[in-house]
């Protein structure tokens, strides 16, 4: 019996596959992605994907790459270094919050692509230009990127998030957790403010090093 496809079948392509995978993961999360479901989404058997992508792992790398390429960081020298670093950090945060699986992906299967390395190189260039020597530029980069990734991860899943379910704290006795429960009851800060607070503490700490 002839099967009528809802959408006429376009040629399968690595790019189309990655795009479809990204949609699937955006909608159902990382564990909602399987080669079989992805094939179904594209109107094709799972095995056909292997003609264009060597493995599921490579597919995940493609997703990471596509997202990291969306992070904006401007060439060195366009703006004051701290402003440029701040805006790049915010850009990464926005992308990561729109695709909440990104931080997990980055931590789990570190991308070794030019796209990912471009962020490192740009940041190092900005920090060198700001006056840090090569070793301190690396340390400053690791400090900044460490904070940004960790802060995003906490914003997504950590304790002390606003609008967190009361059930998460239900078992805690007030006598043992006075400070924590006090904050939960009084209400937690806007996470964007908390993010900027941390970023500013770090940036002014680094600026103080340059001044000295």
């Amino acid at each position: 019996l002839p099967v009528i496809h809802a959408q006429p079948r376009a040629r399968l392509t690595r790019e189309r596959i990655v795009r479809a995978a990204l949609e699937l993961v955006d909608e159902h999360g990382l564990e909602g992605l399987s080669m079989r479901k992805l094939g179904a989404e594209l109107g094709v058997e799972a095995m056909s994907l292997y003609n264009h992508v060597p493995s599921k792992a490579a597919l995940l790398d493609g997703i990471t790459d596509a997202l990291l390429s969306q992070v904006e960081i401007h060439p060195v020298g366009e703006r004051e270094w701290a402003d440029e670093i701040r805006s790049a950090a915010r850009s990464l945060r926005r992308v990561a919050l729109s695709h909440p699986y990104l931080v997990t992906l980055v931590a789990t299967r570190p991308p070794r692509t030019a796209t990912a390395m471009r962020l490192v190189e740009s940041a190092l260039a900005i920090l060198r230009h700001a006056g840090f020597d090569p070793e301190d530029a690396v340390r400053a980069y690791l400090l900044l990127m460490g904070y940004v990734l960790g802060a995003i991860s906490q914003e997504l899943t950590g304790p002390l998030r606003p609008r967190q379910q009361a059930a998460d704290y239900a078992d805690l006795r007030r006598e043992h957790f006075p400070n924590l429960l006090d904050r939960v009851e009084q209400g937690i800060d806007d996470p964007e403010r908390a993010f900027d607070f941390g970023l500013d503490v770090i940036l002014s700490g680094l600026a103080a090093m340059l001044g000295g």
Copy 2:
């Protein structure tokens, strides 16, 4: 035919199961843990585990809990606040490096247990005692914990690690990645020093806020 067990079979217990799971994960990583393999390790069918643990997810929570309980943080007031925070951060780093899957676990299935919350409460107490108001104590906590988690994650899988495989950088053209390749060739810092560098920048930034 009677089967002779290598080890006489001890009674199955939630605690024994979690301990065995921890060993399995330490040796084979997170994806090396399956209910079937864990059962085999304990001389039992996979399904027997469900008499003591409701799900694999709960088992992972048990592992996270056991590891977080190893992190040392002393009661408020014993030492100068910045010293205590620094030593707790280092303690978490040591535990996390000994069990490299811990940061993934914490980011992926955030623990809502008293053990995990104990770290939050202790840190908040120390920061409040140091002089931060309740809101800033939360911000300072998020900054510190964000940095520690992110820095560990980068130390485990990020770029600019010492002894990283040269293949990771092989495709990068020198003209596009001068700063990155320069650092790779000159050699990367001891990661413990880099960790302490970042921690100290943050701690002195926070101290400056108290001073003002």
